[in-house]
Amino acid sequence: MSSAGFGSGLDEVFGPDRGDGPELIQLLTPEGERVEHPEFAFDLGDEAILGFYRDLVMTRRIDTEATALQRQGELGIWASLLGQEAAQIGSGRAMRDQDYAFPTYREHGVAWCRGVDPLHLLGLFRGVDQGGWDPIADKFNLYTIVIGAQTLHATGYAMGLQRDGVIGTGDPDRDSAVIAYFGDGATSQGDVNEAFIWASVFNAPVVFFCQNNQWAISEPIERQTKIPLYQRALGFGFPGLRVDGNDVLAVHAVTQAALQRAREGSGPTFVEAFTYRMGAHTTSDDPTRYRVSGDLEHWKLKDPIERVRAYLSRGGVADDSYFAGVENEADELAARLRKGCLEMPDPSPLDIFGQVYDEITPELEAQRDQFAAYLASFEPADASADEGALR
């Protein structure tokens, strides 16, 4: 029998996929030209785009500074977002105050949009804590390192929103949504697929925002899927879209629509932001072992910041003084971060015992007291020895 018997149109979607198919939603070309899309439009003015430009530059500077600090041994490790700035700023700026974000370990740009002090990010990668910001106040969860786990947390939180009656009331300051960030590799985890099932079955107000940066450490996207990732959602009964992840306008438009759909009570959406990991997986990684530089060149031409700058200057929306101003601001931020990082105090080893439970156990109290007495029996010299350990 003909394999046509196995459902039509499968051959088209099979096979390697360079991501520039018709399904890619784009509103700003790599050259900085505005283009139309039948379904999605960027509904803010140039003011907003000026703001996006600033966000993009600041985010990239945070990233560069952090990478430098790691090289100098001030951070244990750093996960760079180089190349993914537009995907994060576009989606982050589409959120309303009352929306809640569940990041991976790479969402530094989203953190920026949520008003999280970048120093907190450095603290985590330096090893002084596991995320110093207030996830409830900032509506930005702590970074999740176990791949995929946060997508279920996001879905559960969205089920909480439903129970709190803050979905589909029509009140723009009340209706809320959740956005779950994850990578292309994460789509292979059982948890992520279970999150799709929960969200679909309960019609949960959650946007699944996948940054397909083409790589899971050394594994190319072909190791995770045979078809474009956004099509995964169709198998679970909710919409999937692919947007140019390096186009901050398109990402903003699509994410805003998806979030609004969730807030209105129309359920989950899968957004695949098609982008590229320009740097190493982390500062511990060596991409030269597994990928060719050709791809990098191809993607350099699609840089998410350059196209916005091109648009702003060509249209005369911004002049050099504006760009210089942003650069200055970025320099000041970088200086503040470096200073703050170096001055960051180490935590006290005795604090951890009280952080395990809401109600500490007698066993832990005893361990803490014994350890305190033990530590007291040493010279401070020992402390500096500890410092050495990280390097």
């Binding site: 947390h153 559960g156 099932i197 929960w198 395990v356």
Partner: protein, 324 residues
């Protein structure tokens, strides 16, 4: 004063907790119309609605993972794992997320989640329905683990667990679900994290929890006929352990036997033996002896009675202890 079963005690406790706090939600497989395969959630969905008694898709990681999100939003999820052997798909969410969230956030994200697990064997079931996974959780920092052994405790302990702001693995001895006891709701309960002296004795101490408490008490009665005075303690809390009464008893009898269904190697008995020996080194007349399941997977049910510690194996251990 009403006579209720252990299962009914949990049901009544859940109902009381849900009436008291609208943030308490029950979730799991078949907890709705069916009332759970053991009927422990019987009637709850009818009275509290589908938003608070949630029949979930068939995926344990999903149950615990979404419970984490609900907890972050201020809810107090009570998750039912249908049988002990089916908690493992949720193990990552329990160990890496539920257990670590309070620590990771330094208290900003408490996890008031109760994980109900019907545990243990003795009901003639097929594979995976008779496991005793308590040690996997008691070894995990960030979790608390308790086990009830009678209807009065099941009624109070489930409510105390739900009131706790820490994640608690709540173990229900499924073979004792139908055991009856008299509940007087006017008698104040013991604190959740306390062990309890069940029977006084002078020659040896037997420690047990969950399904083995009844077995231990029967052994003590049988021992009495043989003129041996055996003290029995129901541990009730496995993490943290409430060792003070245990140490007191050890100093009195000098001989201790720990009983559980879980395999002996690295079971709770190992930790308890190590702690008693550290604390009461000079009081011990004999090494702490352990009676438990063998270090094999749970066997086919036709021979489970040979696998499970029973009255005779407890007595045998008591005699071996007395022989020192």
């Amino acid at each position: 004063m009403t006579a209720i079963t252990l299962a009914k005690g949990v049901t009544m406790g859940l109902r009381a907790a849900m009436e008291r706090d609208s943030k308490v939600v029950v979730m799991g497989e078949d907890v709705g119309k069916l009332g759970g395969v053991f009927r422990v959630t019987d009637g709850l969905q009818k009275d509290f609605g589908e938003d608070r008694v949630i029949d979930t898709p068939l995926a344990e990681s999903g149950i615990l993972g979404t419970a984490v999100g609900l907890a972050m939003r201020g809810y107090r999820p009570v998750c039912e794992i249908q049988f002990d052997g089916f908690v493992y798909p949720a193990y990552d969410q329990i160990v890496s997320q539920v257990a670590k969230m309070h620590f990771r956030s330094r208290g900003r994200l408490p996890m008031p989640i109760v994980i109900r697990i019907p545990f243990g064997g003795g009901i003639g079931a097929v594979e995976h329905h008779s496991e005793s996974p308590e040690a996997y959780f008691a070894h995990t920092a960030g979790l608390k683990v308790v086990a009830c052994s009678n209807p009065v405790d099941s009624y109070w302990m489930i409510q105390q667990s739900i009131e706790s702001n820490d994640p608690i693995v709540f173990l229900e001895p499924k073979r004792r679900y139908w055991e009856k006891g008299d509940l007087d709701v006017d008698v104040a309960p013991d604190p959740l994290f306390s062990s309890r002296l069940m029977r006084e004795g002078t020659d040896a101490t037997v420690l047990a929890y969950g399904p083995m408490v009844k077995t231990a008490l029967e052994a003590a009665t049988a021992a009495a006929d043989e003129g041996k005075s055996v003290e029995v303690i129901d541990l009730r809390t496995l993490s943290p352990l409430d060792m003070a009464p245990v140490h007191a008893s050890t100093r009195k009898t000098g001989r201790v036997v720990v009983v559980h269904e879980a395999p002996v190697t690295l079971g709770l008995g190992a930790e308890i033996a190590a702690r008693i020996t550290e604390e009461c080194f000079y009081s011990l007349e004999a090494p702490v002896l352990r009676v438990g399941g063998f270090d094999t997977p749970y066997p086919p049910s036709r021979i489970e009675e040979d696998y499970l510690p029973d009255l005779d194996r407890v007595l045998d251990a008591v005699d071996r202890s007395l022989a020192y």
